[in-house]
């Protein structure tokens, strides 16, 4: 029962078949035939310079079949119907043996006569869309070579990336990994894995198999989250281009990544499935709603929108981090003196210290002579042996100077001592901040300024970063 109430709460975000058909597929009217016909699609993509696998030959009818020279085919290719549905009727041929037979993905050996039968079945419309048989052309296509990123995740077949595009903005994406159950086909209805992708970074998130959440590749200890999809930004660009050139309003673009050629479009889908929502653990409805009002977008804007709107939580964390200035262990720090003269010195970043300190001679140079003298006049000797009341009197006296923002007592080798802190505007790289530093004698130390934790809030420290070469002293 809790499950059901939970799902009803979520239902506002999930896009169902009814709504997809009713609201979104009507955008594709008249264009479905384009997407369903792979040959037309290919022609369109080719003429617009969108990468797509090479076509070696097409058989449209019986006469073509009789005249077709099967020996002209390369050793490795894919045979598929031009009007296929859900990966049916696709045979992958890996290699040709010396006796002239080809080896398929399922390790069968096919002669030319077997190929002819397969072509005949395709021509008969066995695999075509819809309940009634419609004849379809058979296409011989380049076999795409697996990108090494996916090698261990995929069973035999080549994984592909499905991107849903609406209003020319990619809204959701999924990596589909073939499994043994799916027979090497990247079809999640046949048991392939559907892995959600974070739109901002192109890194996988959640994964499903047969609509159930899973963590790792079946029978392997390989986590399915965190896979980095190569060429991610290019994939988003291609997805955008596909919608622009095809005009299909609610589009599923299937992209495959070749080892050498990079991303290539294998198919345009005018009624993309909804399982992608389970793979991403997120509903499409909200995402579609977000881009509904988007008018015309350029390619780069589409990519930016996608990344901004549909990046995951981890990305927000990164955003917080990137707002900070990255610094090394030593940096150049610049002060604006009271005489409006800028002085830059080297400073040491010390996360072991709480507060920062500045050399008194530097403070004098910057125009804080008055406070330095005032401080030295009062604290002329160690105050360690003084009584409590007397010490308090010292402290109050120190606070009387208007430039003293804090008085702290510290324990030194000589005993108890007082330090005064002043505030002065400082700058590291381009980041300006108010440095609160205690005045001390650092004449024997390498760096006239030390930055402690209290003043490092706006910074990220990279211990490998080389400090800027401001002279130490």
């Amino acid at each position: 029962m809790t499950n059901l109430t939970l799902s009803i709460r979520n239902s506002s975000e999930i896009l169902g078949i009814n709504e997809r058909n009713y609201r979104y597929l009507r955008l594709n009217k008249g264009l479905k035939s384009l997407a369903d016909n792979k040959l037309l699609t290919k022609k369109l993509l080719k003429s617009n310079d969108i990468p797509t696998p090479e076509v070696y030959g097409v058989i449209k009818n019986r006469r073509d079949l009789e005249n077709f020279d099967f020996d002209s085919l390369p050793n490795s290719f894919v045979l598929k119907p031009s009007r296929g549905v859900k990966g049916a009727g696709i045979t992958i041929y890996y290699n040709r043996l010396k006796d002239g037979r080809w080896i398929t993905a399922s390790r069968e050996k096919h002669e030319i006569s077997d190929l002819k039968t397969q072509v005949q079945n395709i021509l008969d419309g066995q695999y075509s869309l819809g309940i009634r048989m419609r004849s379809s052309a058979a296409i011989f296509e380049e076999r795409v070579k697996m990108h090494p990123s996916f090698k261990h995740y995929s069973y035999r077949g080549i994984p592909d990336i499905r991107v849903i595009v609406y209003r020319k903005v990619p809204v959701m994406a999924m990596l589909r990994l073939p499994t043994e159950e799916s027979g090497g086909k990247a079809n999640i209805n046949r048991g392939a894995l559907g892995v959600g992708i974070d739109m901002a970074r192109g890194v996988t998130t959640d994964a499903i198999k047969n609509n159930r959440l899973i963590e790792s590749v079946p029978n392997k200890r390989l986590a399915l989250s965190g896979i980095k999809v190569p060429y991610w930004t290019k994939i988003l660009r291609i997805a955008h281009q596909c919608q622009v050139v095809s005009g299909i309003g609610y589009l599923g673009v299937d992209i495959i990544i070749d080892k050498e050629k990079g991303p290539m479009v294998v198919e345009l889908n005018a009624r993309p499935g909804l399982g992608i929502q389970a793979a991403n653990q997120d509903g499409l409805k909200d995402r579609l709603e977000k881009v509904r009002k988007v008018k015309s977008v350029t390619e780069s804007k589409a990519v930016r929108l996608t990344k901004d709107l549909f990046g995951g939580e981890i990305d927000e964390e990164l955003e917080n981090i990137t707002g900070r200035e990255l610094i090394g262990l030593t940096e150049k720090i610049c002060f604006m003196g009271k005489n409006m003269k800028e002085i830059c010195v080297a400073c040491k970043i010390d996360t072991g210290a709480d507060s920062s300190s500045i050399d008194k001679r530097l403070a004098v140079k910057l125009g804080y002579e008055d406070v330095v003298n005032y401080y030295e006049k009062i604290i002329h000797a160690s105050v360690a042996d003084k009584q409590k009341e007397e010490r308090r009197a010292y402290k109050n006296l120190l606070y009387k100077h208007k430039e003293v923002v804090k008085v702290t007592h510290i324990k030194t080798a000589a005993g108890l001592d007082y330090r005064v802190k002043i505030e002065l505007p400082a700058k590291i790289n381009d980041k300006e901040f108010l440095l609160r530093a205690s005045i001390s004698n650092r004449s024997k130390l390498n760096y006239p300024v030390l930055l402690g934790k209290n003043d490092l809030k706006g910074f990220l420290i990279d211990t490998t970063k080389r400090g800027s070469n401001a002279e130490k002293k």
């Binding site: 499950n3 059901l4 939970l6 799902s7 009803i8 709460r9 979520n10 239902s11 975000e13 999930i14 169902g16 078949i17 009814n18 709504e19 009713y22 609201r23 549905v85 859900k86 049916a88 077997d114 039968t117 005949q120 079945n121 008969d124 066995q126 695999y127 309940i131 209805n189 046949r190 609509n211 159930r212 959440l213 909804l274 929502q277 389970a278 991403n280 653990q281 997120d282 509903g283 995951g312 939580e313």
Partner: protein, 219 residues
Amino acid sequence: MFNFAQNLINQGVSEELVYLLLMLPFGAFIVSFFRYYIGLKTFGMYETIMIAFAFYFISPNFVTGLKFGLPLIILAWLVSELFRRGLRGVRLHYVSKISLKISIAALLMIMALWVLSYFGQNGYFTVDPLPIIIILALVESVTLFKVKFGDLRANLSSLETLVVSTLTYGVLTLPVSKEYIILYPYLVILPILGSILIGRFSGLRLSEYIRFKNVKRND
């Protein structure tokens, strides 16, 4: 109000014909309701309604209809299934394979009738031949679905088709249906309005609530 149904019957049109014509919208409504609200994917409107009406032609009595109809369905399904496996290695044209399967189903039916008569079960001899032919020809639908959507989906669809058509058949055999539809033939407007309503429904199907129940909110 003018009762056109009764009037037709009075003029000599068979009551059965009037009744079934008036019930057809109800059948269609049930099929579409199950598709869009429940999410049961049947083989299609035609196949589902055909099975329901074939059952009805076997017998207007629900129990009798199922008693003779279900074995027929199972026979058709088994032939489709077993010979799909059996013929997998044999390279034949697609339509030839279906034709082969239908022939096998027909021959098996003849054998079954022979066995039944041997045991004195003569019930089948009184059954109208047309529904038998209709059901056996379903072999094609099953095969088609298997090729296109894979075994699992096709088997589910077979089951779902059976459920929906049995339900439709149940409605056809209800005594109240017959009584009321002839008495108040304007009731036929209900499934028509209902179909329009279904046609505008854009919510989630029951099956989708189940399918996406694991999707957690990512906010």
